[in-house]
Every structure is written in C-alpha cells, then in structure tokens.
C-alpha cells in the first residue's frame, strides 16, 4: 500500500465552496439539524382545478361513506367478513383463494398511477388521494368556523378569549365527529354496519371494533387536521417515486417565467412596458393558497402535489388585471422552453411511454374483467389422502382415496357431481353427488377405483371433473392415481 503511486489513486476533492472564515453573516448561518414545522394557512381558492378537486372529494367520499349502507339481497352489498373469510362485493362472493383479484386490482392501481403521473404529474396527489381529500374537507370546516387565512392567522396570534375558545373548540369538535364517522364507516366494511350501529347504541361493541374506529378516526383527525403537507413531504413514498417518473413532456403546474419576469406590483391602469415589468404582479397569492407552502415561481419542487390552486388563483388575478390567463398553468418543461402551443404540447404528451402504459393498463383491465366474467361459481382443491396410498378392495379393485374441498361461491345450496377420467375403467366409488351449503366449503372423502391390472404399477395422471348441477359450470382438477406393485 505504501509503495503505490499516489497519482494512480482517484482523489475526490472535498472543497468547501465558501470557507467558513470567508462567509459573512448575510451569506451563511448556523442552523439546527431539525426543522420546526411552520404552520401553513392555505387561502381558500375557487376555479377550474378547485372545482375538479371538489368533484373528486364528492365522488370518492360518496363511495366511501355510502357503500357500506347499500343492501344486496339479504345482506350488505360490500362486506369483507374477515372472521368467516368471505368477501362480498355485490353479487360476488370471494374466498381467500381469490387473492389474485386483489393482486390484479393493485397492479391496475399501480399502472394507473404510472400512466397518470407520466401524463400530468401528481394528479392522484392533487385530486384524489385521501390525504388531499380529507385535508380539503377539514380545511373547509376550518374555513367555515375560523374564517379565511388572515382571520385564522389573527386568531392563532391573538390571546385566548371566549371567541377563540368557542371557535377552536367548535372546529376540533366537528373535526373529531367527521374523523370518528370515518372510522365507523371503515369498520363498517368489515362488520355489518347496521349491526355495528345497534352494538354502539347498546354499548356492546367488541374491543377490536372500538380500537379500529378510534384508531382510524385518530389517523384521519391527525393527518387531515395537523400533519397535512408533512405527510406528503416526509412520510409518503408515492410522492417521491412519482417525482422520479416525470420527464420533460409531463404536464406539471408551472410558472411561465418568460412571460412573468421581471415581476413587480403595479396599478391596474399602469402600462407594464413603461414600468419595465412583465405579467407577474407579485401579489403572492400563489404562495398563500399553496397547501404545501411553496412558491411555484421557483420552478418544479418536490413538495408540489400538483393541486393547481396556484393556477386557479393566478387566473383570477390575471382576469382582474385584464391580462391573459395561464401565467401559472399545466404545461410541460419542453413546452415552456420551446414556447409550444397547447396542441403541440398535447401532441408530445401522448408519447410512446404513455401509449405503452395505456396499452398494458387496458390489457390488465380486460384480463381482469374477462377472468371475473368467466369465473366458475365454485372452487375445488384435490388433496390425496395422507393415510392411504392405494388399497385392494373386494371385487378386485384398486382404490385410491382423495379429499376434495369444494367451495361454494354462490349464496344458495349447490349440488355437485364428481366424476373422474384419465384411465380406462376408472370410476368414483363413493357418492357422486355432493351438497354444499351456501357460501360454505366442504371437505369430502372421494374413493376412486380402478379394475385390478387396469394400469401398470406406478403413478398415473388423472382428472377430477366437478360439475355444478344447476349452473352446469365445470371445473377440472389434476391429481394422480397410484397403482401398487
């Protein structure tokens, strides 16, 4: 080691760009390793993107709060009965063995996220993510009770008074009510929601039900009321990997710097050209409405959840000033740089990457739908008996024993007929007709016989065919038949 030529080693220079001694107080400062959370008071905003967000708030929450109350026949339409391990989704009865559909759903969700992100950035974050949706609801409540941004800031800065106590108390009361109702609804997906109400009235909810109502409610209250943008900035993994999926043709909320700078305040009647100013009036409203507290004029930042609030508010300002809209707008980095028109921008949005995502997503969706449509309403597992290899029974027959688990995925009693094929003379010696109760699974011992010397000794592949009497749906399951030496 000591003899090696120092020049042959790669030297990574570590240079302090601005040596500590040369830095003056304005240039650098000593800061703590931790950052105190700065409370953000988003100003309320209305406009095209805000309306879209409220559309999604209503859509997602009508589904979430409403679904458990729907009835389907004699039962709750959507119910995940973890105790009995049956999952009811309208007409479907799913078993844990149908896990593949959940996998399919997750694959579809992931691909949708890829697709939306490639097209228009963090669409999910800005419009449909529960964190955004509940924050929006909680902010609305806050706005109703405490007033808009400046009123809230005044209230927080002011001393405690009866007014402050009532407003703060009222806000937290409503928040907690919404949060607990959310927790109650969540538990209602796993235990019949109407019975849960009855249990609550009679004060006999099980400890796990109470725990989950409170836990889910507390998470809603904490995340939507207090954590807010901190969740997106520090906790959410999707936020980070979505940022990695952007490219220069992804639509993002951008500030048109060429049009806006140099910025500056001016009177509505003033001629910007005379003042040597461009479109940005530096009103700072885009900063005030931002739920993550960033300044979009600094360019694309990881904190930006793509909610478009700044675009909405800037458009209203531009309207007031009589300038063209779109100083802050959905555009791509390439479009801003090359000054593309809207049509040119959209042409570049539908790039190969987006088309590939779209076709894969469509393929998976179709596969899933076809698979659900062609699904037989029962399942069968064939397990060879663990105790018996093969036995010779009277009548000179070789007998093998199997255990068949028949899972009835319908909500009526079903008759199934078991037949077997694969060797000449092979037949089912036990009862061929099996009855399985609605949504139940049943193990049946099935004896299969083969005439002596009907096949060479060894293992032979055979197939069980199980046919539902009413629907004549059929399943074919593979197994083996053992012939002893």
């Amino acid at each position: 080691m000591t003899e090696s030529d120092p020049k042959s080693q790669k030297i990574i220079p570590i240079v302090a760009q601005a040596p500590a001694s040369a830095v003056d107080a304005d240039d650098a400062e000593m800061v703590s390793l931790y950052q105190a959370q700065q409370k953000i008071y988003p100003r309320s905003v209305s406009g095209l993107f805000s309306r879209w967000r409220w559309v999604f708030v209503w859509l997602t929450q009508l589904v979430f709060y409403g679904l458990p109350w729907l009835e389907w026949g004699q039962r709750q339409a959507v119910l995940f009965d973890l105790g009995a391990r049956r999952f009811y989704i309208f007409g479907l009865v799913l078993y844990p063995q149908d896990f593949i559909y959940l996998t399919g759903l997750l694959v579809i969700s992931a691909l949708s996220l890829f697709l939306f992100t490639a097209v228009a950035g963090r669409l999910w974050c800005g419009y449909a993510c529960p964190q955004t949706v509940y924050t929006e609801i909680f902010l609305w409540i806050e706005h109703r009770i405490e007033g808009d941004r400046s009123a809230r800031m005044r209230l927080d800065a002011g001393p405690w008074s009866l007014n402050k106590l009532v407003r703060k108390g009222g806000k937290h009361g409503v928040w907690l009510a919404v949060a607990l109702w959310t927790g109650y609804t969540f538990v209602g997906y796993f235990t019949p929601i109407k019975e849960l109400g009855l249990e609550f009235i009679q004060w006999r909810m099980s400890s796990w039900e109470v725990f989950w109502v409170i836990f889910y409610g507390f998470a809603t209250y904490g995340n939507a009321g207090f954590m807010r943008e901190q969740v997106c900035k520090y906790m959410c993994p999707y936020a980070r990997f979505q940022s990695a999926m952007f490219d220069k043709d992804t639509l993002i909320v951008t500030y048109d710097e060429a049009r806006g700078e140099p910025r500056g305040a001016r009177s509505r009647k003033a001629d910007p050209a005379a003042l040597k100013l461009c479109a940005c009036v530096d009103c700072s409203l885009c900063v005030q409405v931002c739920p993550t507290g960033i300044d979009i004029r600094k360019g694309l930042q990881y904190e930006c959840i793509g909610c478009g609030a700044c675009a909405d508010v800037c458009d209203t300002v531009m309207d007031k000033m009589g300038y063209a809209r779109g100083l802050v707008k959905y555009s791509t980095q390439n479009a801003i740089k090359n000054k593309w028109t809207s049509a040119e921008t959209w042409q570049h949005v539908f790039r190969p990457r987006v088309l590939v995502y779209t076709s894969i997503l469509a393929g998976v969706c179709i596969a899933m739908l076809v698979s659900l449509a062609l699904r037989t309403p029962f399942k069968v597992d064939v397990v060879r008996d663990r105790g018996v290899m093969a036995r010779i029974v009277s009548g000179g027959m070789i007998e093998n024993v199997y255990r068949l688990q028949i899972m009835n995925a319908t909500e009526s009693e079903q008759h199934y007929r078991i037949t077997v094929s694969g060797l000449p003379g092979l037949s089912v010696a036990s009862e061929e007709d099996v009855v399985v109760d609605s949504t139940q699974s049943r193990w049946v011992a099935v004896r299969v016989q083969l005439p002596y010397e009907g096949a060479a000794s060894g293992t032979h592949p055979i197939h069980f065919e199980i046919t539902a009497r009413d629907s004549s749906a059929q399943l074919r399951e593979k197994s083996v038949f053992l012939v002893p030496r």
Binding site: P13, Q17, V23, V31, S32, Y34, G387, V388
Partner: protein, 305 residues
C-alpha cells in the same frame, strides 16, 4: 427459566440493551444541540467531484418525537416482558404461559358444547349433525393418518366402515379401543401347525372358510391342523373379539389376501397396535369420536327407527 450458562451473560445482555437505549437518547440530545452551516442557497457549502453539492434538507422536528416514543415504548416493553437478560418482566409472560392460557380459554369455550354431548348417548349423537361435524374434525386430526380420511383403512390398518370388528363394534367397545388402544398379537404358529406343507394346507383351509378360491384337497387336510389356531380363532374360525382374533370366515383381508399372505402370517405372526388416545384426547372428545366411528360403521342404520 434462564437459557444462560452463567449469570454474567444475563447482566451483559441487560447492560448492552440499556446502554444502547441510553446511547440513542444521548445521540438525539447531541444532534438536537448541534448546528450546521448553510450558505444562502440552502446548501451546506460542501462540494464533491467539482459540482456535487450537499443540500440542507433538515428532518422535521416532530420526527424526533417518534424516536422518543420508540425509546419510551422500548423501556416499558422491557419492563413488562422478558427482554433484559434473565428478567421475566412484570407481566411474567412466556410462550408456554400464553399457550396454556389459550388452551384453558379454548376448553372453556367448548366445554358447554361437550357437556351437551357427554349427556347424550352414542346413538343420539350419531343423529346430531353438530356432534358428527365435530367428530369428523377430531377423526381427521387424530385417526385419518392411519385409518384414512374415509375411515376405510388400508393394508394393516382396519377398515372402520365395514361393520366388521376385531375388538367388537358396540359403542362401549369402540370407546375402549380408542381410550386404551389395542394390541393385536398373532404369534408365529409354524411349529405348532407342523411341516411347511401343513402350513400351506391350513392356509387353503382358511381360504375355504370365507369361500375364497382354494385347493379343496389341501383344505380338507389343513382342517385337521386347524386345531392349533382354534384357541384364538375358534373351531369355526369366527374369531374372538375379546382377544382381537379376526373372523376368518368373512371377506376381510386386513393383512393381505391369498395363499402367500396367509402362509407368511402363520409362519411369522404379527403384532399390530392401535395406540391409546386417552393422553391426547379428553374423555369428552373420545365420547364424540366413538359416536362418529360407530356411525361410520353403519351403526346409524342400525339405530335408525
């Protein structure tokens, strides 16, 4: 309780654990006090490879509370549960203890169910779907390994569904077989029967008892030598349930069919054991199981009104 070879290790593990936790707290405290320099462009001023700059992205302060919560949780956990060397913890929790507690809880839950069955006769239980469902599960977990999941047995393991019994098929006899087990013993009888030819003749006589294909000359010769077998199997070959001696006149061939199998049995004998279940299953479980086995043998048909 202790898995340590000497008490030193217990102290050592305790010390390492506690010092580790305290070190975490010290680290939190030190890093809370520490300051870093940042330039006004929000970098730390450090540059690598000419242009790679280090941004100042501080951790949110509330995150520190998560660390503190984990430390508090760890201390409470270590106080309550075994974790500090030999200490069993305040709750005195152990895997063994939890297992026993859950067994007691489980038994308490099923006790009223079994109490109902204990009050019922085997015949009544055979008509009770719930008793039969429980019996089937007990059978599948404890009996099916040998007797098969359809209770029809296999070579060497008796068929329980054919109404043919080695030790008797009355409910009390079935219960006795399950509780205490059975030891079937066929001694080697070659010397008592005589020459190998005599053995062969006896084998043909045995075949003739059940009307199976046989050499009638050999069978009639074998009949004279059958006296050696009659002590257990009876002069008529119908066996003796008190001894577990099988009936030779039926068509059940537990240990193999044909001249060779019978000759081998006479020459070598056989010990065949049904293990006792009383240590594994409770008396109530055996009661339900007896009813299930009895019903599988066709007992329910007999009992049906």
């Amino acid at each position: 309780m202790s898995d340590f070879t000497s008490n030193f290790w217990s102290v050592f593990v305790t010390a390492v654990t506690l010092v580790g936790i305290i070190a975490c707290l010290v680290l939190l405290w030190v890093s809370g006090k520490a300051k870093a320099m940042t330039a006004n462009d929000n970098t730390t001023g450090h540059v690598w490879d000419g242009d790679l700059r280090e941004m100042n992205n501080p951790l949110p302060r509330w995150w520190v509370w998560l660390f503190i919560i984990t430390v508090v949780f760890a201390l409470i956990y270590l106080a309550m549960y075994p974790g500090l060397g030999n200490s069993p913890g305040k709750l005195n929790w152990s895997q063994q203890g939890q297992y026993e507690a859950e067994m007691v809880k489980g038994e308490k839950e099923v006790a009223p169910l079994y109490a109902r069955f204990t009050a019922m006769s085997v015949q009544d239980m055979a008509r009770d779907p719930q008793a039969m469902a429980i019996g089937e599960r007990v059978f599948m977990n404890n009996c099916a390994q040998c007797h098969g999941s359809d209770a029809r047995g296999s070579k060497g393991f008796p068929n329980l569904s054919d109404g043919d019994w080695l030790w008797g098929g009355a409910p009390e006899q079935i219960k006795e077989s399950i509780t205490k087990g059975r030891m079937g013993n066929m001694p080697p009888m070659a010397a008592a029967v005589g020459t190998p030819d005599d053995v062969k003749n006896v084998a043909h006589y045995v075949l003739s008892l059940s009307g199976s294909p046989h050499d009638s000359l050999r069978a009639s010769l074998g009949k004279t030598k059958f006296g050696a077998c009659a002590a257990c199997h009876g002069m008529d070959g119908k066996g003796n349930p008190a001894l577990g001696a099988p009936n030779l006149t039926d068509d059940t061939w537990l240990h193999g069919y044909g001249e060779n199998a019978i000759v081998a049995m006479i020459n070598n004998g056989k010990v065949n054991q049904m293990p006792a279940q009383e240590g594994k299953l409770s008396a109530a479980q055996i009661h339900v199981l007896s009813a299930y086995v009895w019903s599988r043998s066709g007992g329910n048909k007999v009992a049906a009104p």
